[in-house]
C-alpha cells in the first residue's frame, strides 16, 4: 500500500478544517493482498497493551509474507490495517466503523483488548459479518449469540472457576501434599469481587479448602499492616491475592516481605496477565515478586522459545506477555482460515474459523490447547496456564507438558 506523507498531511489539514478525512486508498484488487484488521488502544491509558499487540501482529505478518504469503491465493500478501481504539468505547466503536467503511475488503481482524471496547467493536463487526478474534475475557462477549466473534481466551467465569483447582493440582504436584486452608486478600473492585463470589458461595468447600482469613479492602490502601498481621496469625496454606491496582500490590508485597512471608514462604496466587508485565517488575522489584504464581489465559510456553527470542530481538522487550503472543497467534489463525477458505472472503473465512481444529503450526503454538471454537465462538479444551516469577522473569510452570520451568510451592527460608 502506498500512502505518502503528503497525502497524510493533506488529510490532517482537512481534518483540522473540521472535516473527517477518510484516507484515500488505491483499489486493492489488482495487487494480490489479503487485508486483516487490528483495533486496539494505541493511545490513552491502555496504549502500552495495544502497542504490545501490534508488535506481535507485525512480527507474524512479516513471517507469513516472508514464507510466501497465502499459498491458497497464489502467494497473496497479508496486510495489517491498524486502528486506534483510543480511551473510550465510543472511540473504539468509531474506529471499527471507520475501518469497515474505508476497507470493504477486510477478511477478519483482532481486537480490542479491553472487554468493553471489544463489546462495542463487535457490535459493528457482527453486523458487517467480519470475523473478529479477541483476547478479552468478559463472558458477555460470546454470550450474546453473536456468530462472528471468536474468543481465544477462556472467559472470566471459566478462569475464576479453574484457577483454584489448577493451583491445587500444581501444589500437589510440587509438594505431594494438597493444601487444606486458604486466605483471601482482595480489594472490592469489580473483577476481584466477581472472581471471589463463587468461591465464597460453596466453591472453596467443594475443593476441600477452609477459608481461614478473608480480608476485603476499598482501594487505595494506605497501610497493609493490619491485613498482613491477620494473614500471619491465621497462617493459611496459601494466599489468594486479588488486587487490581499496582500501588496496592506493592504495599501488600512489601508488607509480606517485612513479615517474612514473601519469596515463597507463603505461596501467593493471583490471576491475570497484569501480574506478569515488565512494568510490574520495574515498580515493585524482582525481589518482592519472587515466587508469585498467577493464572493467565495465555503465556509463552514450551515450544515457543524461538518465537519469544525473535520477539525480544525485534522489540527489545525483556520477555513476551499475553498481549504479544496472542496477537501473533491471531494473525496465524487468520492466515490459516484464509488458506482453508481459499478466498479473500470474510464469510468463508468465518466458516473456516468455525470448523478449524489446529494442533500444530505457529497458530497452535501461540495458545494452550487446540485452536477450535464452539458454536458461541469460545475455545474448547483450554487448559489453565500458571506462570511464576522466578529470578525476575515470569515463566510458565503449569501444566507440566507446557512448562518452561518447574514450579515451587513452598520455599523454606
Amino acid at each position: 500500500m502506498n500512502r505518502g506523507p503528503t497525502r497524510r498531511e493533506v488529510g490532517v489539514g482537512l481534518a483540522l478544517a473540521g472535516g473527517v478525512g477518510l484516507r484515500w486508498r488505491p483499489a486493492a484488487a489488482q495487487t494480490k493482498e489479503v487485508r486483516v484488521a487490528m483495533i486496539a488502544p494505541l493511545s490513552g491509558p491502555w496504549a502500552r497493551q495495544g502497542q504490545l499487540m501490534r508488535m506481535g501482529a507485525d512480527m507474524a505478518i512479516e513471517e507469513i509474507n516472508q514464507k510466501g504469503g497465502i499459498q491458497a491465493l497464489g502467494g497473496a500478501k497479508l496486510v495489517l490495517v491498524v486502528a486506534d481504539a483510543g480511551d473510550s468505547t465510543e472511540k473504539a466503536k468509531n474506529a471499527a466503523q471507520r475501518l469497515l467503511a474505508q476497507d470493504p475488503d477486510l477478511v477478519g481482524g483482532t481486537g480490542a483488548w479491553l472487554s468493553s471496547f471489544t463489546l462495542a467493536v463487535t457490535e459493528v463487526t457482527e453486523r458487517m459479518q467480519l470475523p473478529i478474534l479477541t483476547l478479552s475475557y468478559s463472558d458477555l462477549i460470546t454470550g450474546r449469540g453473536f456468530k462472528y466473534v471468536f474468543q481465544t481466551s477462556p472467559t472470566a467465569g471459566h478462569q475464576a472457576a479453574e484457577t483454584l483447582p489448577t493451583a491445587l493440582k500444581l501444589a500437589e504436584g510440587a509438594t505431594g501434599k494438597r493444601p487444606k486452608t486458604v486466605g483471601i486478600l482482595m480489594d472490592n473492585t469489580a473483577a476481584p469481587t466477581s472472581f471471589a463470589k463463587p468461591l465464597r458461595e460453596g466453591g472453596l468447600e467443594k475443593l476441600g479448602l477452609k477459608l481461614v482469613v478473608d480480608q476485603v479492602f476499598t482501594p487505595p490502601l494506605s497501610d497493609a499492616t493490619p491485613l498482613i498481621e491477620k494473614v500471619r496469625s491465621a497462617r493459611p496454606d496459601f494466599l489468594l491475592l486479588l488486587l487490581s491496582a499496582m500501588p496496592d500490590n506493592k504495599l501488600v508485597l512489601e508488607k509480606l516481605d517485612e513479615f517474612k512471608l514473601s519469596k515463597g514462604r507463603l505461596p501467593l496466587v493471583g490471576n491475570g496477565s497484569p501480574l506478569g508485565t515488565p512494568e510490574l517488575k520495574n515498580t515493585i522489584g524482582a525481589d518482592l515478586l519472587e515466587g508469585l504464581l498467577f493464572s493467565v489465559a495465555d503465556w509463552p510456553f514450551k515450544g515457543d522459545e524461538e518465537i519469544v527470542e525473535r520477539f525480544k530481538k525485534r522489540t527489545n522487550e525483556p520477555w513476551m506477555t499475553q498481549d504479544g503472543i496472542t496477537a501473533y497467534g491471531d494473525m496465524w489463525i487468520l492466515k490459516e482460515a484464509v488458506e482453508r477458505a481459499g478466498a479473500a472472503d470474510r464469510l468463508k473465512v468465518a466458516d473456516a474459523l468455525r470448523t478449524m481444529n489446529l494442533t500444530t503450526g505457529p497458530a497452535a503454538l501461540s495458545f494452550p490447547g487446540p485452536i477450535q471454537f464452539d458454536g458461541n465462538g469460545r475455545r474448547v479444551d483450554v487448559p489453565m496456564i500458571f506462570a511464576q516469577w522466578q529470578n525476575g522473569v515470569p515463566v510458565t510452570v503449569f501444566p507440566p507438558e507446557l512448562a518452561l520451568a518447574k514450579p515451587y510451592w513452598l520455599k523454606e527460608a
Partner: protein
Amino acid sequence: MRASAQTRQRWVILAVAVAVLVVSLALHSAYYQLVLTQVLLWAVLSLAWNILSGYSGYFSFGHAAFWGLGAYTVALGMIYWDLPPWVGIPLGAVVGGIAGAIIGYPTFRLRGHYFALAMLAYPLATLYVFQWLGYQEISLPMRRDAPILYMQFTDPRAYVVLALGLLVIALVVSLHVENSRFGMALRAIKQNEPAAEAAGIPTWAWKMRAIMLSGALAGMAGGLYAVVLLVVTPESVFGMLVSAQPLILALFGGVGTLWGPVIGAAVLVPLAEGLNGELGDVLPGIQGVVYGVAIIVIILCAPEGLYWRLRDRFAKPGVLRIIEDEPRPTMPVKPAALLRPPSGGNLLVLRGVGISFGGLRALDDIDLVVREGSLHGIIGPNGAGKTTLFNVVNGFLAPDRGSISFTGIPLAGLRPSRVCRLGIGRTFQVVRAFSRMTVLDNVIVGAFVGARDDVSAERMARVALDRVGLIDRAGAVAGGLTTRELRLMELARALAPLPRLLLLDETLAGLGQEDLAGILNVIRQIRDEGVTVLIIEHTMQAMVRLVDEFSVLDHGRLIAAGAPDEIVRDRRVIEAYLGRRWMDRITDTAA
C-alpha cells in the same frame, strides 16, 4: 421585536434540520453517518448544559450524571423489561429531570466554583454506584425479531434522523427558554443574583426548573446514545470526559447562545474523530495534542466562542436598530398606584426590630411607621444601619427581634422575591445592573412580578422607562450607561411592577448638581403618582428639599423622627452628624 426574532430563529432551525437531512442522504458511508449522529447527540447534551450553565451562570461539571442515567435507563429497561427505546428514551428524560431536582435541591445552596465542584461529584459517585451494582459492562440485546420497535435499524441514516429529532427538540426548547421570562430570569441570575431576587425573580424556583429541564434533555440524549453505542459502561457514560464534553463544546461555540453548542459540536466532534482516524495508527496519542492545540488557538482567537466571532463578522447590526424603531409608548397605561388614592394610613410598620452581627448591634429596637403616600427619608452617618434596615425590610436579612408588617401582612421570613411580589421595590446603594442586558431587558426583569405574561411585562417596562425619562435609551446595553442613567434604570426596574412602596438606597449619591435636580424631580413625580417612597441618604441638604418626613439613625438606633425643619434643629441629630464640639459652638452662638 422579540417575537419576530423568535420566528426567524425557527426558520433557521428548520433550515439546519433540512441541511442535516440532505447531508445525511448524500453520505454513503456508515461511518460518516455514525459521526454525524454523534455530532447531533453531543450538540443536544451541550444545549442541555447551556440551559442551566450557559444562561444562569451556574457551571456544571457534572452533566454526565444525567446523560449516564438516561443511557442506563434505556439499556436496563431493554434488558430487564423488554422496554423499547421509544419508551426508554422519554423515560430517560423523566429520570434525568428527577435527577436534576434531587441534585439541584442541595447543590443550589452553593455558588460559583463551589457549585461547579459539587456538581463534579455526582457523576463520579454514580459511576461507582453502577460499578458496585454490577453493571460494569452491559450490552443492548440484538433484537432481530423486532428491529424497528427496538431501534435497531440496518440503515444508519435512521439514527441520524432520530438524533436530529432530539436536536430539534433541544433547539426549540432552548429558543423558548431564551425568549421568555425563563431565560430572562436565568440571565438576570447570572449577572446579579441578589438584584434578581430583589426585583421579584424567585431565583431558587427558576434555577430548579433550569436544572430539571437541563437534566431531562441530557437524559434523553444519553438514552439515544446507548441505542447508538449498544454498549454501556459506567466510564463511557458517567466519565469525566463526558462531563467535560458539553462544556468544551459550548465554550468553543459560545456560552449562553442558542447556536454556540451546535457550532461547537459541528466543529470539534468531527475534528477529534478525523484526527483519531488520520493519526491514531501513525503517532498514537498525537491526536489529543493536535486537538488541544486547535482548541487553544480558536479560544485565543475567539475568546467568547466562535458564535460571537462569526456574528460580528457576518451579521447586520440589527438588534439596536429594531429597538430604536419601536414607537414610544404613546398612551402610558395609568399606573395602578395612581388609581389608588393615598389613604394616609400606615403602610409599613416596624416594631422593636433588631439585628446583631456578632457583637455589633446593627439595628437596635427600631420603631418606624411609614404612612402611605408619604416621601419618607432616612438619614444618618455612615455605618448608622440604614442599608441594613432596607435589607431587613426586603428580606435579604432576617431580623433577630421585632416585627415588620406591610399593609398589615407580616414580612418576617419571606424571601426577597416574595416581598417584592407584595409590592415593595428597591434600588441599591451600588447600582446592581444586569450589565450585559439592554436597558429595556433590565427593566423587563423587574416587571415580571407584576405582569400576567411576557408581552405585558414588556409594556410595563416601557411605561416605567417613560416615567423616569429613559425611554430613549431602551436599546442601549446597561454596561455603557452613565451613573445618572444607571440610577434611573434601576429606579425604572423597581417601578415597573407598580409597587406601593419604593425603597431607594442612596439614589442621589455620586451625582452632579444638574443630574441631582433631575432625579429629585423624578422621585417627586413618582410620589405624586401615589407611590410611597422610603429613601436613604446621608447628604442632608438634598433631603431637606425632598422629603415630607425624616427618621434619623445613629449606631443602629432611631434617634429622632419628624418634619425636616424640626430635624435640622434637633440637638441629637447635629451631634450625630457633626460631633459634640460643633453642637457646643451652635449653642454658644445662639446664646
